[in-house]
């Protein structure tokens, strides 16, 4: 997995609550058997005016000029500013793959849906929960037309504002370590293979019906 240490980047505001993963990456792009190729279809239904399908390249599409992602001043953004319950709905990890491939490595929101939140950490994307008033302030700053550039420092667990002000944030210590070191968490789990085998043997003793021969 791609490591995440610090990132300095422009903020893209998406002022909408309950953004579901169907919006982040619509279903017609889930037919791929690869982990890549989703970035051009991030927020496809909002980003383009025509209906997308996997055979079309972005050049063949009609861009929706009113969608914030297409605004010239947000090009190259790497931090997404979002509203509550971001990433709700389907468990599709393709949503995170699309964000990451587009270049969005940090998502700031007052709250996230559980499965999406967990999927982010598996792909080098850092979701950060901030107080609603701080999120509001950031949206207000962006509404003035001024851009906003932030530095996110995972090791220190702080966000540095242009004013020099810093905001601290919480992150699960295991997930933090995985992100900082770009760890394969399956490898970490398998260091406990002995404990898993031991548990499994006892579990089989207690509940042999769970280990029936299928079919």
């Amino acid at each position: 997995m791609k490591a995440f240490t610090t990132l300095t980047g422009r903020v893209l505001p998406l002022d909408k609550a309950n953004v579901d993963t169907d919006q982040i990456i619509p279903k017609q792009f889930l037919k791929s058997i690869r982990r890549t190729g989703f970035g051009d279809n991030l927020f496809d239904g909002w980003r383009y005016l025509d209906e997308g399908d996997p055979s079309k390249t972005p050049n063949e599409r009609r861009i929706n000029p009113d969608f914030v992602l297409n605004a010239p001043r947000y090009q190259g953004a790497s931090i997404l500013l979002a509203r509550e319950n971001f990433g709700c709905g389907s468990s599709r990890e393709h949503a995170v793959w699309a964000l990451e491939e587009y270049g969005l490595r940090v998502v700031l929101a007052p709250s996230f849906a559980d499965i999406f939140f967990s999927n982010c950490f598996k792909n080098g994307v850092l979701p950060i929960v901030l107080e609603e008033n701080i999120i509001d302030e950031m949206f207000e700053m962006l509404a003035t037309g001024e851009g906003l550039e932030l530095t996110v420092d995972l090791a220190e667990q702080v966000i540095r504002m242009p004013s020099g002000k810093t905001l601290s944030f919480e992150v699960d210590s295991f997930r933090k370590r995985c992100l900082l070191e770009g760890l394969d968490d399956i490898g970490v789990t398998l260091t406990d293979a002995g404990a898993i085998r031991e548990f499994e043997a006892a579990h089989r003793q207690r509940a042999p019906w769970l280990f029936g021969d299928p079919g």
Partner: protein
């Protein structure tokens, strides 16, 4: 020591290791796979040179993008070349790793969350995961079941475990009995309307109370299926005789003495009387009416006698903005009566409502009636091969066909429209599925979530209508 909740018990029984950093290693008993979220996991497994930890814990079936017509043609019936590669990839992966698959022509193929319980592959007390958020369905069996992403699919394949943090406990008590014509789906929608789509985030839900105890296993599955639409990864219902009788005799369920041994252990799969929940919600089930969603989130829901809300009723500026945007997308006006919303297509199916009882209930409404002229298409998509055969044995397909419904082959179909079954832009659909998100059932499509009975009634009327009144008419009375 304080009593434990059902979730606490399931967690404790699967805890391999509690780590110092607060995470825990949880053992997974059953892993269900389908074609959409597994290919990258198998690829990851191969790249790392790993093998599945316990092959017999896995069962796969293609469901998301299989066509619901021309099933007898098998793979040749999949006309979309990209979808076909994905289904073939599942076949290849299952063959290479020795995983049991109910492939496209297997009589047991179907929607993964219908298939697991139907085959007895979902058992009480299990941990069940699948790369699909509606895995919460299996919680109906007093199991700890939830959706996972593709990286976690790979994790479970490789280690039979997941790294987790324990969620909080929420009890939802549905008091009283559901009135006739009001279903588990209506209860689920009413709960989501009450607590919101993020109300259950961070919690495991336990559904309890008289109304829940009174549900069949299929009703409980419908209820738990929708837990994720309330933001909770898992929803569950305590074990009882209803659970036991459903499981008995299923192909993968234990038999004979082993079944009796299991049954004795399963009786403990209830929350202790003195268990402490972090949150509790009570809802009066006896006061509910059939529910219809009007917006683009399952929480945007109202009883069938109600109206699309006025924007001033929004609780916050954010909610108002969400409602405005939803109404624009849905082409509806505040204050409009739900029964004035016309229906262009009707979809009866999905992991929420495609089981035999759902089809029986819908057929009872449709029997002797016709789909309204104004309805472009009404389709029934059974949840699995066995459901389809059972329905045909009961003659339900004839009822649907005579009324003008299409009778399809099993799959996820128009719930998420990955295959050819989808809405056109601007079309309103009465759908028994679980999500009314923008574009969910087709680009620009407008979904209204309802029960099978209500979908059937809408198909006949051409607009939403209280199914109870329609059925009361049959009896010569008024609702």
């Amino acid at each position: 020591m304080a009593g434990r909740t059902l979730y606490d018990k399931l967690w404790d029984a699967h805890l391999v290791k509690q780590r110092d950093d607060g995470t825990a290693l949880i053992y997974i008993d059953r892993h269900l796979l389908h074609e959409v979220t597994s290919p990258q996991a198998f690829e990851g497994l191969r790249l790392a040179g790993r093998r599945p930890w316990r092959v017999d814990a896995n069962i796969a079936t293609p469901d998301h993008n299989v066509p619901t017509v021309k099933r007898s043609e098998g793979m040749a019936g999949i006309t979309d070349p990209i979808a076909k590669i994905q289904v073939e990839t599942l076949d290849d992966n299952c063959r290479d790793f020795g995983i049991l698959e109910f492939a496209i022509l297997d009589p047991r193929q179907g929607i993964v969350h219908v298939v697991g319980p139907e085959q007895g592959a979902t058992l009480p007390g299990m941990t069940v995961v699948c790369g699909d958020s509606h895995t919460s369905t299996h919680g109906a069996f007093a199991a700890l079941a939830h959706g996972i992403g593709t990286s976690e699919v790979e994790h479970v394949l490789a280690s039979q475990c997941l790294i987790q943090r324990k969620a909080k406990n929420m009890r939802i008590v549905a008091d009283g009995r559901l009135p006739p014509g009001v279903t588990a789906k209506d209860l689920a929608l009413a709960i989501i309307g009450r607590i919101g789509t993020a109300g259950g985030t961070g919690y495991t839900l336990e559904f309890s109370g008289e109304a829940v105890r009174g549900l069949s296993m299929e009703g409980r599955m419908t209820l738990c299926n929708m837990a994720i639409e309330a933001g909770a990864r898992s929803g569950m219902v305590a074990f009882d005789e209803v659970t036991l009788e459903y499981v008995r005799g299923r192909p993968f369920a234990p038999k004979g003495a082993l079944f009796e041994q299991a049954a004795a252990a399963w009786r403990d799969l209830v929350s202790d009387p003195d268990a402490v929940f972090d949150a509790e919600i009570r809802i009066d089930a006896s006061a509910l009416e059939p529910q219809v969603t009007w917006g683009t989130s399952p929480e945007m829901v109202v009883g069938v006698s109600g109206v699309v809300p006025e924007l001033d009723a929004a609780a916050s500026a954010g909610q108002r903005q969400g409602w405005e945007s939803a109404l624009r997308y849905m082409g509806l006006e505040p204050g409009m009566r739900i029964t004035d919303i016309g229906v262009d297509r009707v979809f009866i199916g999905s992991c929420t409502n495609s089981r035999i009882e759902d089809l029986r209930a819908a057929a009872a409404v449709v029997r002797g009636r016709r789909v309204a002229q104004s309805v472009l298409q009404a389709m029934v998509v059974p949840g699995s091969g066995p459901v389809k055969r059972q329905a045909e044995a009961e003659g339900l397909h004839e009822v649907f066909l005579a009324a003008g419904f299409e009778w399809r082959d099993p799959g996820c179909s128009m719930c998420l429209a990955m295959n050819a079954d989808r809405l056109g832009a601007g079309e309103h659909c009465a759908s028994t599925s679980n999500r009314n998100f923008e574009g969910r059932q087709g680009h620009g499509g407008r979904t209204h979530l309802v029960s099978p009975e209500m979908a059937a009634a809408a198909a006949v009327a051409g607009h939403f209508t209280d199914v109870r009144a329609m059925l009361a008419g049959d009896r010569g009375g008024l609702a």
